[in-house]
């Protein structure tokens, strides 16, 4: 069996398969379907310094080979996470990674610092790319200076592995990735959702409560793959690839384009056991092709 272990900075993963934030709850929701400790990592729901109610319903619209969402970072805040959720997930034997969001650099940094104190959370994914909140979120991820300001503030107060999740809604994603790297990010993950819209023509109204939302699913995969390829060439830090991955073939494409690890998001809604199938599929492909180690295909183009 091929060696599937990879590293994101100091973070060791059993295999390159992780779950995308906002699609896998806190992991526990999927415990009936897969062995959670069989994953390389679980990136839990976006967490903010203060509780957020999120946007009004409807928050979701189905599209061709994908979906739009405008959930808007509904969560009970970092203190609730530390007190009530962390105790339930801390003993899951995989990398439990918290996705952190905020509305100012100080917000992000304070939230990250509180998670830094949790022994069993070895990394955070900094969300500077949520398209569904007015205050902050994607605002920081669409300019180099915005990205720098958040990563710098967090880096000063967060000492473990720092992954920065990038927005595809930019002119040149490689520039943003380089800005994050320069401020001390250990890794970048991409892509977050693409901003989109859908209209109910009978009601003559947008289908989503805040008019626009983030597009995800297989329809975004070619865009995501292209961006991962561009970013992997532009930075030295490891890249985590995501966007529409639904099967092992998709995952292997991302690995070949330069991603060291991958995240599976929307596909969890279609098949709650997809993550383990992708892991096994990667392993099988490597065996079938005589590869001893997954690194033989990472960035092999």
């Amino acid at each position: 069996m091929a060696d599937l272990r990879v590293n994101i900075g100091r973070l060791a993963l059993k295999n390159p398969v992780m779950t995308a934030s906002g699609t896998f709850g806190y992991g526990l929701e999927f415990a009936d379907f897969i062995p959670l400790d069989g994953l390389g990592g679980i990136i839990v729901k976006g967490t903010t310094l203060h509780p957020r109610e999120g946007n009004d319903y409807p928050r979701m619209a189905e599209t061709a080979q994908g979906m739009l969402n405008c959930v808007g970072l509904q969560n009970k805040g970092v203190d609730y996470f530390c007190e009530h959720i962390y105790p339930q997930i801390k003993d899951i034997d995989t990398n439990m990674i918290v996705n952190v969001s905020g509305s100012s650099p100080d917000d992000y940094a304070e939230c990250a610092a509180r998670i830094d104190a949790l022994d069993k959370i070895p990394a955070i994914e900094l969300n500077i790319s949520c398209p569904n909140v007015k205050d902050g979120g994607m605002a920081f991820g669409v300019t180099c200076s915005g990205a720098e300001s958040v990563v710098k503030a967090v880096r000063e107060r967060y000492h473990k592995t720092l992954i920065v999740k990038l927005s595809p809604n930019v002119t040149n994603i490689a520039d943003i990735a380089r800005a994050c790297e320069a401020q001390g990010a250990d890794s970048v993950s991409l892509i977050n959702t693409l901003m989109g819209m859908a209209i109910d023509i009978e009601k003559r109204k947008p289908r989503l409560s805040i008019n626009t939302g983030g597009l995800s699913g297989p329809c975004v995969k070619p865009v995501a793959l292209r961006m991962v390829w561009q970013v992997a060439k532009a930075v030295r830090i490891p890249v985590v690839g995501l966007g529409g991955i639904s099967c092992a073939t998709d995952a292997i494409e991302f690995l070949m384009s330069g991603a060291t690890a991958i995240e599976i998001g929307t596909a969890n809604f279609l098949d709650p056991a997809v993550t383990i199938k992708v892991r096994d599929g990667i392993s099988q492909w490597l065996d079938d092709h005589g590869c001893q180690d997954v690194h033989e295909i990472i960035g092999c183009l």
């Binding site: 699609t23 009004d56 319903y57 979701m60």
Partner: protein
């Protein structure tokens, strides 16, 4: 309750009305325990425009025949494709999902089960489970016209059935909330159907000071409480209908009634 992803086999497809089919599904292994109010997320194969699973409430579980019944209202392309299934086809299901209606705790408790449209489906399951446990359900079913009263004969097997139709073609003329059975005393109401109907039922329950549980059908993606798309505003904030529901005591909802 443990959840499963199962490939169920279609045993029979019955056309209940031009817009409704009943799928009788089975499995080579005994089906897992399912309770009234719970639902199934079904994968719609062979429908290029359908991306997500479709949540369908459980209509009936026949443990002797190892059958799960799903009533499907053919509304969009996804549900129309489900209507095209044939015996022998496979239907991939995630189940059982969501919470349940509250079972009566003593034999004196009088429970009224109010269903409208495809919302009648979970009322049959609730009624059959009540009857199996020795309780007597009263069903109150509403439709626009007589042909909307799906599975009417089956309901009669499991309890007393009261009917309203808007055109008076069957039962009493009017809406469910106009039916004379509501002059009787009930301790609790369970309801599922169009939102205006459920709100009218909730208003009646509030006036009478009795408990009322409503089953909601907000648009869902994951069905597992992971994506937070199907939320309903409640006194405890936004809650996932798929996980915290679909059944809610209406007192928890922020309905203007």
């Amino acid at each position: 309750m443990k959840k499963y992803v199962l490939d169920l086999t279609v045993r029979q497809v019955e056309q209940l009305s031009p817009r409704h089919v009943l799928l009788r599904l089975t499995h080579e292994q005994p089906l897992p325990e399912m309770l009234p109010g719970q639902f199934v997320e079904v994968r719609v194969d062979n429908s290029p425009t359908t991306f997500l699973r479709r949540p369908i409430s459980i209509n009936f579980v026949d443990s002797e025949k190892n059958e799960l019944w799903l009533m499907v209202a053919m509304i969009g392309e996804g549900t129309r494709q489900l209507g095209r299934l044939a015996p022998g086809d496979t239907l991939n299901c995630v189940l059982p999902l969501g919470n349940t209606f509250t079972m009566p705790s003593n034999a004196d408790e009088r429970v009224l089960l109010v269903g409208g449209g495809v919302g009648m489906a979970p009322m049959l399951f609730m009624g059959t489970e009540m009857q199996r446990r020795g309780f007597q359900p009263t069903f109150l079913l509403g439709g626009r016209t007589a042909s909307d009263l799906l599975e009417y004969d089956l309901f009669n097997k499991y309890g007393r059935v009261c009917v309203t139709t808007e055109d008076g073609s069957m039962g009493e003329k009017g809406f469910v909330t106009n039916h004379s059975v509501l002059q009787e005393h009930f301790d609790r109401i369970c309801t599922c159907g169009p939102k205006p109907m459920m709100m009218a039922v909730a208003r009646y329950a509030k006036e009478k000071g009795i408990e009322c549980e409503a089953s909601l059908e907000n648009m869902m993606a994951c069905g597992l409480g992971a994506c937070l798309c199907c939320v309903e505003k409640t006194v405890e904030g936004n809650l996932c209908v798929c996980k915290e529901g679909p059944v809610f005591n209406v007192k928890r909802l922020l309905w203007q009634i």
